[in-house]
Symmetry: C2
Subunit: 180 residues, 2 copies
């Protein structure tokens, strides 16, 4: 094994490690491989570059680069004289984490909150129903209690996302370990 092969092996280990954990970002392993490869290339790449490098179709590259882009793991960059789209990985992994966290959870909180609001309104209305029994009323009250509890939880989650988005999380957990 020559030096170049050893270098490749070292890179491949890291890339595979990324590939096998990228599901935490909601992406399939191949997108992780794409990201890993781009991480070690020290230049923006075109879809054809990626296709050649990974031995996968250009269509796949196009699809997964969009996912990577939406998850804010890569940026499209521009270079004069180059007609093809160029992409490169973001270099601030702390920010990548914060962006992923923010994008994924904000969306979830939004969907959940809307559902809770609707159901709460329905249940409050339902309490007035003519055919209401004491038994059913008790169940409804319990459900309302549950919904109020999870609404409070989602409010906390929303504030947690704010703390990440506003970089306040770095006050709690500083980027650099203090020198001894």
């Amino acid at each position: 094994m020559d030096a170049y092969e050893k270098l490749e092996k070292s890179r491949k280990r890291i890339t595979e490690s990324i590939a096998q954990n990228i599901h935490l970002y909601g992406l399939p392993p191949s997108a992780g491989r794409q990201f890993g490869m781009m991480f070690f290339e020290n230049r923006p790449l075109t879809l054809d570059d990626m296709s050649a490098e990974l031995g996968m179709s250009k269509t796949s590259m196009s699809t997964s680069i969009r996912s990577l882009s939406e998850a804010k793991l890569v940026d499209r960059v521009w270079e004069r004289g180059v007609r093809k789209d160029l992409y490169e990985v973001k270099d601030d992994w702390y920010q990548i984490f914060v962006d992923m966290f923010t994008v994924k959870w904000r969306r979830a909180v939004s969907l959940h909150t809307a559902a809770i609001r609707k159901s709460l309104a329905e249940l409050k209305e339902l309490k007035k129903a003519d055919d209401m029994t004491d038994e059913l009323l008790a169940v409804i009250e319990t459900d309302i209690e549950k919904l109020l509890y999870i609404r409070e939880y989602y409010d906390w989650l929303d504030r947690l996302i704010d703390a990440f988005e506003d970089q306040k999380i770095f006050d709690l957990v500083p980027r650099l370990e203090e020198e001894a």
Copy 2:
């Protein structure tokens, strides 16, 4: 639509909302449905209960309850005189979030860190190789720089996980919004 149907509709909305976001916990929608159903039942359930309630096989219930259990979303509970396994959802959603975060990310950090350590050692050794050229040496140095950077990042992530695990996150983002 009678009152009971309206109640069901309200519950179903919440359950579906959970089902469609449970992928954030690395679980399939059906596990989310299972969790949602259990959330509204005010008693521990057996596998047969769940199977009947969701119209799915007992085998599936067994498999997904294990996933839910590993993700720390449900607990197995004991009741005297009952031979079947009983499960109920955890009632502290804040803690559920913290546990999920901790479990999933701790594992990722551990795997990544091991890979980085190995590759760093290899690259440092590789620098001494006989057939080393200036050009290749420069590439190796660049790779080492990259690995040192992401090692630092994973160290931060590890400390972030600590902050969740130690409940310090609730200092930064309190559970209850202060009264006005």
